[in-house]
């Protein structure tokens, strides 16, 4: 009898705790619902010839017309394919370069001069707060052919004979874009890792020093393992954002010469939807992006299940 009362009260307690946990999660659920699920009703625009300002009920229903348009013509297909290819390339490079902030943070933390360390950290973090428009002006003033200081320097040093038009080149577009992004974001991204390093127990280093570990060994055996978890968490988070490359950077750097390699999906949607006012068509492309993202997610899920025996679903 007593046991059954105890069990009942335990059950009650765990039920109440369940509610509490649910309440803790509720704001996030509502947040996700509002900002991630509600906007999905905008997908309906892709099957109507949407006229801004008109309620959807008064717009002409066109069914799958815009989806057909996406694939009906070889040039349109190529545009979509190129945008997809560029997106994958940029994301791929993003993953490849993802250890860089971690490495940078290690280097920073190993600096002996505190003043110099702070100086480097400030200088590398500052560009994060500058908009891409300003960054472009900066890059243009550095790299332009007529009086950009890089070209002037290279010519005067005799490295090149004629100035190189770096900005209007279709060579290495992905790498240069990633380079600009790293320049802008490296210092900022390193902050999380610096925090992780600060969290590593100093006694470990002292013990290692007593054991005769040199600097590199301390980094490799203590610092890196101490940060790796943070690295993977960030990597997984960035994978969740797989196709969201953003468009600002590519928008300001695009020109006729590099457009084939710079137009990522987000920029393509922007150019068509906002740039050209084709909202329905741009929505159709946006849906295609989501579709690709779902397929990618399914693939990663399958991979995780096969390799690690663990998956989301």
């Amino acid at each position: 009898m007593e046991e059954s009362v105890k069990a009942k009260s335990l059950h009650k307690k765990s039920k109440r705790e369940g509610y509490m946990i649910f309440l803790y999660a509720l704001p996030t659920i509502i947040f996700v619902f509002i900002f991630s699920y509600l906007p999905l009703r905008g997908w309906i625009y892709s099957i109507y010839n949407y006229q801004p300002g008109l309620p959807i009920s008064e717009c002409e229903f066109v069914g799958m017309k815009y989806f057909t348009k996406l694939f009906s013509n070889p040039v349109m297909r190529m545009n979509l394919f190129n945008s997809l290819r560029n997106t994958f390339a940029m994301v791929g490079l993003g993953i490849l370069t993802s250890p860089l902030p971690m490495i940078f943070a290690i280097f920073l933390s190993e600096m002996r001069s505190k003043g110099f360390k702070k100086f480097v950290q400030t200088v590398t973090t500052m560009p994060h707060f500058i908009s891409w428009i300003i960054m472009y002006s900066l890059v243009f003033s550095m790299l332009n052919v007529n009086n950009g200081f890089v070209n002037t320097l290279l010519v005067q040093m005799g490295v090149i004979e004629e100035p190189v038009n770096f900005l209007a080149s279709q060579k290495h577009v992905w790498i240069t874009m990633k380079g600009y992004e790293l320049w802008k974001e490296l210092g900022w991204s390193a902050i999380v890792y610096l925090a992780a390093i600060a969290g590593i127990d100093q006694e470990l280093y002292e013990a290692a020093m007593v054991d005769g570990a040199n600097r590199l060994q301390r980094i490799w055996h203590i610092t890196v393992p101490g940060m790796i978890e943070t690295f993977f968490v960030l990597l997984i988070m960035s994978l969740g954002n797989f196709l969201n490359t953003g468009m600002e950077q590519y928008y300001v750097f695009q020109n006729a010469m590099n457009k084939d390699y710079i137009q990522v999906l987000d920029l393509y949607v922007y150019n068509i939807g906002i740039g050209n006012g084709q909202i329905s068509y741009a929505t159709a492309i946006g849906i295609m992006k989501s579709l690709v993202a779902v397929i990618m997610f399914g693939f990663v899920n399958w991979l995780s299940k096969t390799v690690r025996g663990y998956s989301m679903f």
């Binding site: 509502i30 040039v75 545009n79 038009n165 006012g277």
Partner: protein
Amino acid sequence: MKASKKVLTLFLAAAMVVSAFAGCSKGNDESSSTANESSQSSQAGDSSTEPAGNTGEVTTLDYYISTTAVSGPVTGWLGDYLKENGLALNIIAGSEEKMQAYLAGGDLPDLMSFNTWDSVTKAIAGKMLVNLDEHLDKLPNVTANVPEAIEYTRDNRSNGTGNLYVIPSSIGDSYFPVDTGVYSINVRWDIYEKIGCPKAETLEDLIPIFKQMQEAYPETEDGTKTYAMNLFSSWDGTTKMAAVNNVITTLGYMESFYQYFADLNLETGEINSIFDDDSTYLRALKFFYQLNQEGLLDPDAITQTYEAAKAKVDSGAYVAIGYAGYKDGFNTPEHVDADEPVGYMPIIFDEYKACVIGDATVGSTRNQLGISAVSSKVDACLQYINLTADYDALLTLNNGPQGELWDINDEGEVYATEKYWDCYNSNGGKLTLSNGEELHPGFTYEYVIANTQAHPTYNVPIGIGNWPDVIEGTQKNKLTEAWSDDNDGYMFPIQKMEAEGRVYKRPLAHTLMETTPDDIALLQQAIAQIVIQNSWKMAYAKDEAEFNSLWDDMKTQAEALDVQEVIDWATDSWNKGMEIAKQYVE
């Protein structure tokens, strides 16, 4: 303690949810009208426009202008003048993107100055605009001064409703008193004279001339290397390579018609595909290609913005400039009236035919004025529109307060005051008022009636810069004299051009073309992307083989996208425009 933590947690969660919802809620658009008490004395002129019911209260209007880059309240003498009329304007600088966002959102600012008829059509379809037919009694200046424009707009630009939703702007005759403005190729006349003023028959003959000029003047005083033609890509947008206008408009072809992938010859009226192997478009690209081969094309052209190119024009770093090469920045009084004058003047090669802006009998193709359907200040908006269609008010709006730079003499004639000439002679041409304020601090607005239109009482164009004595006094200088000596003694280029029948005005049909249907616009944008890209690549092609292969590639891709459909639509729309124009032009 625990309980208080729980309460705090719940409170924060609730606050987050509420703020999230608040972010989504539709903004309350009833921005209050500020009733500023006008305390500042004003030097504004004695315009005859007395706003109906002006009780001394000032209504602030949010005014979206698609063609200005400066946001913020209108202050200074213009602000004072508007305040006298019970108005204050808060300018919202526009852009193509912002326009789309406003249209998608549905709630427009009080007063709108649209960028295209296409946007107007969308706004009408979305029921975002006030039907002005219901308020014509409050637009007496508009109905009296621009009746054709109203009739035209109602008949052709009402999205089939037959109502008047916008009032077009810049209505009036076009006016080229000195030269054809940007519809010419201007060369650094001082350098051109140095190389002996060689004559050119064709466009291509200009290339060796430019080369000689570049050799004579390889870099500016500050060491910037010189090039020919101020090309840049920031005006390309989504439909065209704007740089082509440099060539098209000097060969008698209509500006920007190639955005429909066709050349329109204004002399013959013929419309042909730009993909024909003898097209003017291809000729323009070849011209750029040859310039590049000769080291005359600015390598930064493709990446520089208009502002960067303009800064170079202003410093005289191009030996020749074309469309968008506004030469005033370099042709300053100090330059053009120096003992050895320097400056840009048009080179009149034998083949040159200027395609210039035509008379805007029913208004320009942009800056149409409309009132937002959700505005609570419709009367004030109407008052503003009516004010900008009043000839006397326009004298002040364009030229500043009466008694400053202009005045009316005892014979009832308008004239430029001593102050105006002082500004011209000693202030580097910068027009400033007595209080030191600039007349046009970096921006001007488009009004219902153009400043080139003649004032009915004074029989001179509204804008002071176009008054005969002002033109004579400001445009005649040592540079124009030098030009005149080399050009059969004509005082100004326009006189030679007109005498030789080389000026072609854009027909009214240009402003009367239909709104591009969505299907065509989609096609147009997709083709344009290829055309813009390949055109720039062709200009910078390494050799003839690469040039031709890019051309073939562009042609093949455009044909695969059914470019003929766009050309056919544009031809049809142009022909319809020509028919409609007959109703409005005698």
